[in-house]
Amino acid sequence: MNINNKTSQSAGIKITNNWFAILVSLLFLLFPLVIKNNYFIDVAFFFGIYTLLGLSLNIVLGEVGLFDLGHMGFAAIGAYTTAILNTSFGIPIFVLLPISAIAAAIFAYLVTSPIIHLRGDYLCIVTIGMGEIVRLTLINNPFGITGGPNGVFGIDFPSIGNLLIIDNSVKFYYFIWVAVGLTVLALIHLQDSRIGRAWNCIREDIIAAEASGIDVRYYKLLAFVLGAALAGVAGSIYASKLMIVSPESFSFMESCMLFCIVLIGGMGSIPGIFIGAAAISLFPEIFQTFAQYRMLIFGAALVLMMMFRPGGVWPRKRGKLSTESMLIKAGKSEI
């Protein structure tokens, strides 16, 4: 089946979508030029980090429906790979970016392959355990390389010789959002591909997927490996921005926040991830005047949110290949 074969009807929708995407991209591009305040640019940077992490969890949770409540563990592996290799051997950050991704991916492959057959809540609890093991191990300073509870500090700025040195808020802002932009482009193509459809099929009905010849184990592992690699990249960028990594940045609470990002936005919906990440990262800033009440409000908001929009703010529209649209077509032909 040729997936590039677009009908004229959907082409119309595609163009409006593109206009919207271009508008949003322009907004992000111009933001630091209009807002000169470094504080707001830093807030926008962390919005970007959460978006990247949300996109990475979205592959596992949103596309394949695997409950992963230990996703920060993968980001921790990426961040610590960057931190340790940079501070000990002086390897530049840009070289470490792919290395961190690969390290997180290998780690994900090793730990998830024995547990990949677990379903639903069992997978959820194992991933919690995995995330906690990573964090506790980092605290315990194995072989004296992770620096214990204090973490590793003195990480360099990302640079390519003297050509490009990312050393201020604005440059970091563009660094993260370019990474997010590239990731979004890749993920949109992935969603429409054979892999994306196999993932969604597994999410909707795993038994049907197995029966139609989808290698469920392979595709689930692929989701974990890709998701972990992306989280590793996010961790690496995070480490170079803060110049310090410590275990408490990768707690169970943070993993729960990522879970909330995906669910607030809508499972498997890329625009939804932006909304979810905005909610998680901007909410505490907006409600700063309420000081100690802000997380109280946040908890209540999560509950209300699920009450009124259980599918998320921007739920994923099912593609033209879904059964829904086929049924509608069939219904029309009868009339």
């Binding site: 355990g129 506790l136 038994i207 169970f252 908890g299 509950v303 699920m306 259980p310």
Partner: protein, 303 residues
Amino acid sequence: MSLVIEQLLNGLTIGSFYALIALGYSMVYGVMKLINFAHGDLFALGSYLGYTLLVMGTAYVTSILGIWGGMIAAMLVAAIGSGVMGLLVERIAYRPIYPTGRLPAVVSALGVSIFLQNAIMVVWGARPQAYTSDVIPSNILTIGGLRINILQIIILFLSFLLMGILYYIIQKTTFGAAIRACALDRETAALMGININLIIFFIFALGPALGGTAGVMVGVYYRRISFIMGWNYGLKAFTATILGGIGNIPGAMIGGLILGVLEMLGSTYISTPYKDVFVFLVLILVLIFRPRGILGEKVAEKV
């Protein structure tokens, strides 16, 4: 040898805390198929309620009821407080969300957990609080070189008593059979004339009540309580639930006790800083080789 027995006793004590909390997780999961993330914070709430009654009343309750009576009164207040809060949480945050699916309910539970945790912080302050020594009974008993705290024995006795009562209700009475029927298949149970709402009321009141009681026990045993302790104990107790077999009442008790003993033995004989790593490693190994837990029954897959 005396070290082994002492550590075993310590392990059982911690294990009984885990078991009491795990019962709440297991009952709710059994009937609702929902991981009640707020349960750990209901446990913390119980601990703070006990603290309020015992310490903030400048030992007034203790002076009337005596040191043991004060402790029991604190447990009762904590149980009632946590139980009522559990019911409120179910009515406000879970009931409207059940029909829309399981994942929104999980997020709602996380929301409630964050809410409760921060509510505790706002009310009682962010700094850790301490159960002061004037409200805590502590008589050390020495039997043949063994130093045993009587408080520990009382805690063990009370938690085993509570678990025993619950075990009797769930396994031996008609009402218990109704709960087990709901856990197996809620729709069919409803068709058989079982009042589902009554069962939900019962599990959401009793689970947090047991958790709240455990909260006071942790308070008097460790003396130091903090508003984030709900996460730590909740996570461990949930691990215990899975270890024993989720949705299985005796499984939760045994899982909790095993977890406590493993933790203590791990910290004594392997390494103290790595004791939690050891606990989660055991959990993962159990899940790999016996995913249904120690006592869980094999569930046929529904197509």
